[in-house]
Amino acid sequence: MFDAIMTGFNWFMSAGATVMLPVIITIIGLIFGLKLTTAFKSGLTLGIGFAGINLILDFMKTNVGTAAKAMVDNIGVDLDVLDVGWGSIAAITWASPIIAILIFAILATNVIMLILKATNTLDVDIWNYHHMAIVGIMVHYVTGNVLLGVAASVVMAATTFKIADWSQPMVEDFFGIPGVSLPTISATSTLLIAWPLNWLLDRIPGVNKINFTLKDAQKYLGFFGDQMIMGLVLGLVIGGLAGYDLASVLKLGVSMSAVLVLIPKMTAMFMEGLIPISEAAQKWSQEKFKDRKLFIGLDAAVVVGNQDVITTALIIIPLTIALAVILPGNRVLPFADLAIVPFRVALAVALTRGNLFKNLIIGLVTTASLLYCGSLTAPFLTSIAENVGIDMAIAGGAILISSFAATSLIHSFLVFMAFTGKLMFTMPIMVVVIAATWYYFEKIKPNKKQLIEAEVIETHSIENY
C-alpha cells in the first residue's frame, strides 16, 4: 500500500512543476473553502505563471547567462552567480513538493500566535509566504528532513510577525498608514542590520550630526528606476565587457531589457492566481478575530512609493553594481533584483526618519550582506531550481543562480545556517538570540520609552511654570 502511494507520488513528482502546481494549489484552494472551479482556475493560473517564468529563465540563460560567462572569462571578474530575480525564486518556491505543508504551517503559526496574543499582526498575505517557505525548502533540501524544513519556516514566520509588530509604530508614524504592519521579509530583513547600525551611528560624535538632502536625485538618477532603460544599459555594458561585436552587444541590450520587463508580467500571474485563496483566508481570519484590534499584514509594496525611499534606492542601485565588482569574494552579478532595491531600503528610511546619510550607510551594508549571503547560498538555490525543472546549468554549471530574495536576505540566511549547522550548537544560540531580542523589544524598550516620555512631560511642566 505504502509502495503504491510512493510510486504514485514519484510519478506525480516526475511530471514536473507545471503539472504539480495546479493540482497542489487546487487542493490548497479547496481546503480554504473555494469552489472547485475557482480553486482549479487559481491553480491553473499559477501553472501558467510558472511556465512563463520558465520561458523567460530559459531566454535569460541563453542570452544573459552566456554573456555573463563570456564576461567572466574575458575580464576575469568572478561574478559567476547570476541574479535571476525574486520572482523566479518565488516561482521555484511555489513549485516545491512540500509547499502545501509549509503554507499551512505558516498560517497555523500566525493563528496560534494570535490566539496566544503573542503577536498583533494578522498576516494572510499568502503570496508573501514564499519568503518564509523558501527557507524551509532549502533546509529540507540540505538536511533531507521535512520536519526540520517545516520548523525553519515556522521560525521564519514567528520572527517575521514579531518584527512586523515591533516596526509597526514606525511604519504608521513615518509612512502614515495606520492599522497596518509589514510582514514582508524582503523589507523587514534590513532591520536586522538597520536597528543596531542606526543605534551605533547615533552614538558616534560628529557622525550623528551628518545629514544632507539631494533634491535632483530623481531627476538625474530616474532611469535607474526604469526597468527598460536599466536592462538596456546593463546589457550594453556586459556585452561590451564580454568582448562581443557591436551587433551582439545591441542584441544583448534589448534582450536584457526584455527580461527585466517580462519577469514582472509573469510574476503577476502568480499573484493573480493566489488572490482568491488570500481573500478566503482574509475573510475567515477577520471573522475569527473580529473582536480584536489587529494590524493587517500587507506587502511592503504599499510604502516603497515614498519619495525618500525612492531617492535612497536610486543612489544605492548603481552603488550595488560597484560593490558587486569591488567586494572581494562576492560572486553575485546583480541584475533582475536591482528593480527591488526600494524594498530593501524602505524600513531603514522609516527608522532614520529619512536621514539620507544614514540611509546610504545602512543601504550599502545591507547590499553587501545581500551579495555575500547570495554568493554563499547560490549552489543550493541552483540545485533546488534544477529539482523543480528549471535547468539553469549554463556552460556545464559554470554559472549559478541567486537573487536578492530567499537566503540572500540576512534574516533568512541566519535561520538557514542555524538549521543546517550543527544543531546541538546552533539551536541554543538561535533560541537565546530570539529570546533576548524579544525581551528587549517587549520589556526593556517600552519602559525606556515611558521614561523618556515622562521626562519630556516633566521638562514641559517645568517650562510651563
Binding site: 497596518v180 526604469d226 493573480e272 482574509q282 477577520q286 509594496a301 510604502v303 516603497v304 512609493g305 526600494p342
Partner: protein, 91 residues
Amino acid sequence: MKRVLVACGNGIATSTVVASKIRDYAKGKGVEITTTQCKLMEVAGKADYFDLVVTTGQFSGNSTTPVVRALSLLTGIGQEATLESIVDHLR
C-alpha cells in the same frame, strides 16, 4: 471604455490585487473598464493617458487625472466605500 491606471511599489504585487478587485466590482455594476498596472515612480509619466489613477501607496506627485488611494482594498476595511467612489469616477 474607461481606462484605469493602478500603481503600487513594484507594479506587480498589490496592484494586481487591487486591479482585479476593481475589474470585478466594475463588471458587477455594468461599467466597462480596462486596467493597466505600473510602478508608483511611473505614474507621473503615464497618468495623462488614463481616466483614473488608483494607488496602494503614497503618491505625492501632481496629476490632472483624479487619484484614489485604495489601501482599503488590501486591508478589506472600508473596501465597499472605496470601490464605490472608484466606480463613481468612471461612470
